[in-house]
């Protein structure tokens, strides 16, 4: 039962590991080796790098980032809602589903006001 179900997965894993090992060893063996200082730089999309990435950030960035993610994710709910809205309207439940979204957005706005009142968006 196990072999039957997970056999293809095992083959896939073995293939992935084998492929990676083969590429690493093969390119090392036959590729030309020319030294160039740029080759050992950090990849920065064309801009030459200027600092270590493991520096210190102000903790306020994290707060802003967390709040951003929260509201971003909650806004994602609006898209599926708008897609199925017309189907609900055909069933005669247009007002119901509109009210649902109004409640949802109302709670979201309350949370936003709460954040402002608490001073989470103040920078100093």
């Amino acid at each position: 039962m196990f072999i039957h179900t997970f056999g293809p997965v095992a083959i896939q894993i073995a293939f992935a590991i084998g492929m990676a090992l083969f590429l690493l060893i093969f390119t090392n063996a036959i590729g030309p080796k020319k030294y160039n200082p740029v080759k050992f730089d950090t990849y920065e999309c064309g801009v030459s790098y200027f600092n270590d990435a493991r520096g210190m950030f102000n903790v306020k960035f994290y707060l802003i980032a967390v709040i951003f993610i929260l509201f971003d994710i909650e806004a994602v709910f609006i898209i599926p809602w708008s897609v199925i809205f017309m189907e609900f309207k055909k069933l005669g439940l247009g007002l119901f589903i509109l009210g649902e979204m109004a409640v949802f957005l109302g709670v979201l706005v309350l949370a936003y006001i709460y954040i402002i009142k608490k001073g989470a968006l103040k920078w100093d």
């Binding site: 039962m1 609900f88 069933l91 005669g92 439940l93 709670v107 309350l110 006001i113 709460y114 009142k117």
Partner: protein, 478 residues
């Protein structure tokens, strides 16, 4: 799917919806007014809980799942909702004194408690994996916040972080178990899973069950997953511990009961072995570790672990008798534990001070009535007649004996003897030793009334248990 019944089914959710409305009102009051508004917030929160309790008794019950089979409002969930609301009411009453000496009152905790209780109410009603997980996480995440409510206090912050990290780890494992269940059956509804799961591979079904139980056992604090309990209880503001040690545990026990009645009903032999083992280890570990504690809060944390072990005996010997026994024990445990933590709030001077057994010395001279009531509570926690704790343990052990779990009943009785030693260290300190004579401040009327009410209930349910058991069996077993 029949969408037109959506409006009609709203009436079944009236207690939950009213609680949500009240908590949003409390949030708005807290948000739009000055610092002194905490009294109004507290008042709104306690009014919401009482209103929800009244509405709950008027709400019709239905044995058919509502909302596309995701929620069921049956007698079983009705009983547990009473426990949560009572626990919330007593928690907020105890906050009156606690924040009086603590000074820095945080208005947020009141509506967070309300939101957590809404989450628990949906948890016990849910019969669908997704509804269950969302409502379970609602109260779980709020309890991480509540544990760290005093973010300036180091121990409270430590409790919050510890609870958060261990809690999300265990709930991730539970989610993996849920994913296994879904992968094996392709269903999220508990009833549909229970008919589809026996056709699945036995090993994988048992693995999914084990993963599922890890998350639940963590919340109940059963022994291999109990490490967080003493530290979190010690650091968390004491009124919040009253909530932590009763309501989420009751909610998780209810979920466990629902799961073994539906999803894993075909694996009684296997989970019965797991529960037997866990019950014995939990009882012994909780009681033996409580013996060496000097901090009353830590002692009560281990005591709550041990009580969860007693309740697990009922789960191991599952049957109609043990359902009644478990529900009886849980409501009695609610009152016993609330009274014990109320005693800690009474003697506490500040977070982290005045929590030791020595601080209870001479309490009988300072507050004779409270000390008398606490003796009743201690007798009940130990399990001695004529208190409700005795009746609860009697029912549980009877259920075990009826199913042939003689050794389990013996282990439970043995543990009651062990627990006598540490519970009566509290009694000895209160009555037989002399300590400070000075009375603390005057704002203890709520604490006193909670302790007195709890002990009256314990005595009443201990002397006339038939009324309560009739009520339980009339709503729980249909």
């Amino acid at each position: 799917m029949n969408f037109s019944s959506y409006y009609a089914q709203l009436k079944y959710l009236a207690p939950e919806l009213s609680l949500v409305v009240f908590s949003i009102v409390a949030l708005c009051v807290h948000m739009f007014s000055k610092k002194e508004a905490n009294k109004i917030v507290k008042f709104a929160a306690i009014t919401g809980l009482i209103a929800s309790l009244i509405i709950l008794f008027d709400t019709p019950l239905s044995n058919n799942p509502l909302y596309s089979g995701s929620i069921i409002i049956d007698g079983f969930s009705f009983f547990f909702k009473i426990i949560f609301l009572l626990s919330g009411i007593m928690t907020i009453m105890l906050c009156y004194r606690f924040y009086n000496f603590e000074g820095s009152e945080i208005g947020e905790i009141y509506y967070l408690i309300l939101f957590a209780i809404v989450g628990m109410m949906f948890t016990v009603s849910s019969v669908d994996l997704i509804t269950f997980y969302v409502s379970f996480e609602t109260f779980a995440i709020i309890s991480y916040l509540l544990a760290g409510a005093f973010k300036k206090d180091l121990r409270s912050a430590e409790a919050g972080v510890k609870y958060f990290i261990l809690g999300i780890l265990s709930s991730a494992i539970m989610l993996l178990g849920m994913a296994f269940v879904y992968g094996l059956t392709g269903e999220t509804n508990f009833y549909k899973i229970s008919s589809a799961l026996p056709q699945a591979d036995l090993t994988l079904a048992l693995v999914s069950m084990a993963f599922f139980f890890v998350g639940l056992f963590f919340k109940i604090a059963l022994v291999p997953f109990h490490m967080w309990t003493p530290d979190v209880y010690e650091g968390t503001p004491t009124p919040i511990v009253v909530l932590f040690s009763t309501a989420p545990k009751a909610a998780t026990f209810a979920v466990l009961a629902r799961l073994i009645m539906t999803v894993f009903s075909g694996y009684q032999f296997q989970w019965s072995i797991i529960f037997t083992f866990i019950a014995v280890v939990t009882m012994f570990w909780g009681n033996l570790a409580a013996l060496i504690q000097n901090n009353v809060k830590r002692m009560m944390a281990f005591s709550s672990i041990a009580h969860a072990g007693y309740i697990m005996i009922g789960f191991a010997a599952w049957g109609t008798l043990s359902i009644t026994a478990i529900m009886f024990y849980l409501i009695v445990y609610l009152f016993m534990n609330t009274a014990a933590f109320a005693l800690i709030i009474l003697v506490q001077k500040k977070m982290g001070f005045g929590e030791n057994v020595d601080d209870l010395k001479g309490l009988a001279r300072r507050y004779p009535m409270v000390a008398g009531c606490i003796i009743v509570v201690l007798l009940s926690l130990t399990g001695m007649p004529p208190t409700a704790g005795f009746i609860g343990k009697y029912y549980i052990f009877t259920a075990a004996v009826e199913k042939g779990f003689y050794l389990l009943a013996v282990a439970g009785a043995l543990n009651s003897v062990i627990s006598l030693f540490y519970y009566f260290r509290i009694g000895k300190a209160m009555f037989m030793e002399t300590g400070t004579e000075e009375l603390s401040d005057k704002n203890i009327s709520f604490v006193k009334s909670v302790i007195v009410a709890c002990s009256i209930f314990i005595l009443y349910a201990g002397i006339f248990p038939s009324k309560l058991t009739e009520f339980i069996s009339s709503i729980a077993i249909k």
